[in-house]
Subunit: 521 residues, 2 copies
Amino acid sequence: MGEDDAGDIIEHHVEEEMEKRGTRSHAASSSFPASPPDGEGPSSTQSSHRLLAYSDALISIIATVMILPVAHTKVQDDEELRESVQLLLTTKIGVYLMTFLIVNVAWAAHIRLFQVVVRIDDCLALLNLACMMLITFLPYTFSLMATFPQNILGILLFCGCVMVTGVIQSLIVLYAFSRPFLLNEHIQISENRSVYKHHILKVIVRVPLMCFLASIASLIVFQLSYALLALVIFLPYISQFLKWCRSKALGQREESPDAVMFYTYLPNEPLSKDRVEAFSDGVYAIVATLLILDICEDNVPDPAVVEARFGGDLIAALRVYGPEYLAYFGSFATVGLLWFTHHSLFLHVTRATRLMGLLNTFSLAFVGGLPLAYQLTHEFPPNSQNELEAIQISCVIIFFAGTFQLCIWVVALFSEREALHPYVRYGGREHVLMLAKLALYPCVALGTFLLTCVLSRFSAPIFHLMEITVPFAFLLLRLLVRLVAAVVRLAVCPDRSDPTAVDEQQEATVPFSAAEAQRGC
Amino acid sequence: MGEDDAGDIIEHHVEEEMEKRGTRSHAASSSFPASPPDGEGPSSTQSSHRLLAYSDALISIIATVMILPVAHTKVQDDEELRESVQLLLTTKIGVYLMTFLIVNVAWAAHIRLFQVVVRIDDCLALLNLACMMLITFLPYTFSLMATFPQNILGILLFCGCVMVTGVIQSLIVLYAFSRPFLLNEHIQISENRSVYKHHILKVIVRVPLMCFLASIASLIVFQLSYALLALVIFLPYISQFLKWCRSKALGQREESPDAVMFYTYLPNEPLSKDRVEAFSDGVYAIVATLLILDICEDNVPDPAVVEARFGGDLIAALRVYGPEYLAYFGSFATVGLLWFTHHSLFLHVTRATRLMGLLNTFSLAFVGGLPLAYQLTHEFPPNSQNELEAIQISCVIIFFAGTFQLCIWVVALFSEREALHPYVRYGGREHVLMLAKLALYPCVALGTFLLTCVLSRFSAPIFHLMEITVPFAFLLLRLLVRLVAAVVRLAVCPDRSDPTAVDEQQEATVPFSAAEAQRGC
């Protein structure tokens, strides 16, 4: 029976995939009123899958790149310098977080666009590459703004990039609507296609228009332009979130025809799950390898130095870098395991929404800071206050990275019928295991944090012990969960200790079976 | 009709996808003689797709990372220093190319392994992460070897990593064969499963065993260990290539039952096309953003310096970096367009082989050097000998990167019935366009190279003109090809100038229709 279940999981994915691809192929072979104008025809049309994967890879690299200036700020163990360094560090961390956020907004816009335009041709591929080039330039304009807040050049460059990106995106929309076989089937068969076109164009053009105003405002009062920029980026989200809250509170307009509309900015607007996964994979992969990049470049000693200072003893020379290798393996393992929980989570999520995407972004932003926190833990003398702080910062970062993943699951549980696979829904067979997987890192991080507060002298050993035990905890998690569940059941209802009965209860997939079982117990 | 064709293309992909996934889901639901031993069952089994995508991302980053030490070597315009810098640069480029090759060998082994193990569970995912951690450490051991060729530490570390990786891979194989529902369907239904197991284990264990010998040899005569390492990495390929050549030459053993065997090292052994694409996407994405990483980190001027040296004029301060922005946009566009041709190529390739993978690796290795070559073109004074050399090196790199892509297509054409979509086969409708796309960069690079040899004084303007015109050439390529084809046809058979007839000829999809049309003309 278990084997059939596994088949179901996979088949479910296959069906999903088929549905997705099926609609596209169906859309392609149905006839259209408007034939392509220049006789080229759709012979050159392609599935957009790989173009989007490449865009995701580019955007994930760009989102995480601003952590490098933070990484390469030398923190000295000197009280006098500390404050100025802390200010610099805070600025750089601010730039990193803002870049991460803004690139994510651009990425969300890109997803939205290519949920409407589901197939591409050579022309769209080239336009998209131009778009990517401008997006990858955004972090630089942003760091100019942060370094020279009084100078309007950063704002002008930023606005320029956004405006040109907006123009290119409008071109993509116009091009796609002139060749309807490139569009989403829903829009393709819709009678009021031009309504969609105008709505989408209006949403897209709004951003460059506001940026144009901001750049004019910056020529007069530059503070005003910052306010305008913040407005343009966050207003649609905030206003729609408020609308959504109001409609939820008043209970009206549920399942209105608007629900199928694109570009709604609603928190439950669907987001392409494939792309959320691809983007997350990119970020995790870059972050996991950040430290090895530095090690490969900086930690190969100069042969002359080894000869002079260590008498040609390479091992002694490399021992100096020991802590950095440790930091590398520690951060790789932690990032890898956080990827693993993310992977497990999205394996059981059947539909991603905008809100889940936002929580995922927050989680990823913390993951991005992880390698640096790990690196800091080894940079200070043992038992110093700095070392303790670095270890505690690491714990805090791990805690939040894990907690936001947990939040995604909680959000998915709220609409479990649409968003989750039956096996992990509340009371499902994998429900407890999933919860344990997602809760492991936040719990361990919190425990380590509290322990280091109490036993501050042993903070480093505690932290290293945590690093070593967590991977094994993941390996044995299934057994541990069974053990705990069995103990709990034994403690609560000692009369029903037959393990097969317990297994049968676990096998139940109906959401409320667990509650029923409890009542029965 | 054209629309139906497009539908066919997509449907073809869907069928392929379905076939792939279908076999997996079928495999999952069929019954097995050996039930899982510990009662866990396959309820935790998952499709390996995302694990492989993440591994591809990690490996592609690691493969390209050793270009960074090359990038950050300061090349001075000073004849005295030049030779020592050139030596250093040559060493670093050598390390980059060797790392790229070795990581690609590791990646090919990973593909081979996960073509046998097609589904994973949590335990395999964690083992794979451990494997990845060791692979990402390889470049560092390699650069230790290059810096201290006389010291055996680099070899020992390298051998240690490879041995542990081999042990983990053997564990993965043993684990997967103990739970047959994780295996490839072909092996799963095969009666002599244990033969496969022993063959695969033998191939996997061979490498760590040779590394063990190499590490023992290094304790005695260290030169011997280098020879052993080279042997272990390249011997299977060379010996199998010779065998293949012999069998081709003698015409025997064609389509032997060995053909379905895994781990054959034959040049026509199938390679997962998805993974070749994912890996290439990763490399292209990293390479495209390499320069912006440097720009974001280094090219934000210090406010104090701007105040002191430029009187607070930020634009004047940034003008110093002008050439670096140009280099960024130039290299991003070139890498993006090379990605575009790669994308077009693999869109029409239906099956990737080991030989195509090897050519792809060579192409990617050249792509990796591109941003640095571009950066060099702007680092020297105008009209200097160095500038000319840098521009010519860029042309050579672009030429080889494009030419190896062209080679992939030529290889695919040799077995076009299995490897290519009908539309691009010889004489197919898209055949000429595909050829034009792939030939554009090699031709342009060759032309620019020759022009700079003749008109060395105008090398920089010629190069910049090339950078600007190529993207437009790609946009207009379809029109250009039609124009050239029409002109050629007019010149060859001026009596049949009816454009619709020409179009009909182009529409023909039977491979030899073009030859027939020529005969008819």
